[in-house]
Amino acid sequence: MYANITGENPYAVPMRIYPAPHYTMGGLWVDYDLMSTVPGLFVIGEANFSDHGANRLGASALMQGLADGYFVLPYTMGGYLATAGTSSVKTDHAEFQAAAKAVDERGRKLMGIGGKRSPDSFHVELGKVMWDECGMARTAAGLKKALVKIPEIREAFWKDLRIPGGASDMNQTLEKAGRVADFLEFAELMCQDALAREESCGGHFREEYQTSEGEAKRDDEKFAHASVWEHLGEGKAPAMHKEPLTFENVHLATRSYK
């Protein structure tokens, strides 16, 4: 695969390895049974936050798919279905109607902006801000800068986006715009979370918090918790909940590769 992508034979030429963004760490909040805050909505595998956060290691998708699928869900999902039962859901339900209307309106709103720029152009601009200010190494000053820039990009997005075509048939530009709109919200949350975490932990290196040798410096007194952000509605600041990390058998220590 490497040879195919780069056109170089890694047996003859040294492999070129460089850092790159690889998903976001963390995921949707779930309880111990892997159920989200919506009753009956289970979030499984990498989509939930339960097994990764500070780090997202290679093959974690496989690991979590197996762990959730083999060891958790056979009990918890069956348990939910046994107690809650199943019933046929109709589309004339008020909640369904409201959700369908909201999706429809959002699509129309995106289609109706009538600006000049493509969704990708905003995505690239946002990506650059995240790469520069919320990458593997970040600082409070940089994150604050990003928290100024992201709302500016979002404002430009909602003013200057252009989506050709219609909303009633397949429109991949509209699909992409919907995702970029989500990314614009999510990027802001990521920066807020990074700013709140005044320590270096896992894959997240806050430059202010390092040892004299340049290694990541955790602050277990203050930050041995998973940060769970609650969405309180559009335009409102999210609320943070702390889920303490408690260790019964393995005690917190700093890993050293030296």
Binding site: Y70, P74, G78, S118, P164, G165
Partner: protein, 257 residues
Amino acid sequence: MDLTLNVWRQTGPKAPGRFEKYAAKGISEHISFLEMLDLVNEGLLAEGKEPIAFEHDCREGICGSCGMIVNGSAHGPKKLTTVCQLHMRNFKDGDVIHVEPWRARAFPVIKDLVVDRSSFDRVIQKGGFISTNSGSAPDANAVPVPKHDAESAMDAAACIGCGACVAACPNASAMLFVAAKVAHLGRLPQGKPEKDRRVVGMVEQMDAEGFGNCTNHYECMEACPKGIDVKFIAEMNRAYAKAGVSRTEEKADGGTG
């Protein structure tokens, strides 16, 4: 490099399609074919035109979402390579490239290069379930699998369901796909109890979807980005014949036994 693209544009399943010519200028040899299309699309969007619709997801050659006919070949000229992994160094300056959707009755065009492959999903659904105990996970060594069977099942399981086999076949046959799916469970002990029902169900659904039959052109194997071997088709035919002989009707009440 500068290229000329002739891309199939079709606004909907019933609309007539046509080739449209686009210039792709200053294309780096290091980008993939889909990234090249992304750039062409950004150009189209800048002019306020509708971009070329095409499917993609992982762009790592493992999800099976992408697929198009490039210069007459499914997934393009490079063997064992999905079009997302096809890099522009396989082309040269001044090339004229024709890009078309998969063409098969069972894969109606949705838009431009996007076809409806839900017929594959229905074939898979007809494969049904495998019987297994729910509850705690079995020990890894509880069911011994001979090495040859494990490897052969893995070879079949490499199929990503992209549909290149159908697009490459003069009969628009889905036999390589269906055979791979039949074999990857049928070869394993876990898949044995339902093997007859599975092969009959999947083959009947394949025919019902309007896929053609195999007349041994082997174009499918040539086009397959995962190198699925046509020997699985022979295996499927044998399993189908055997299942037809030995299968008994399933009774709703479970029989009198």
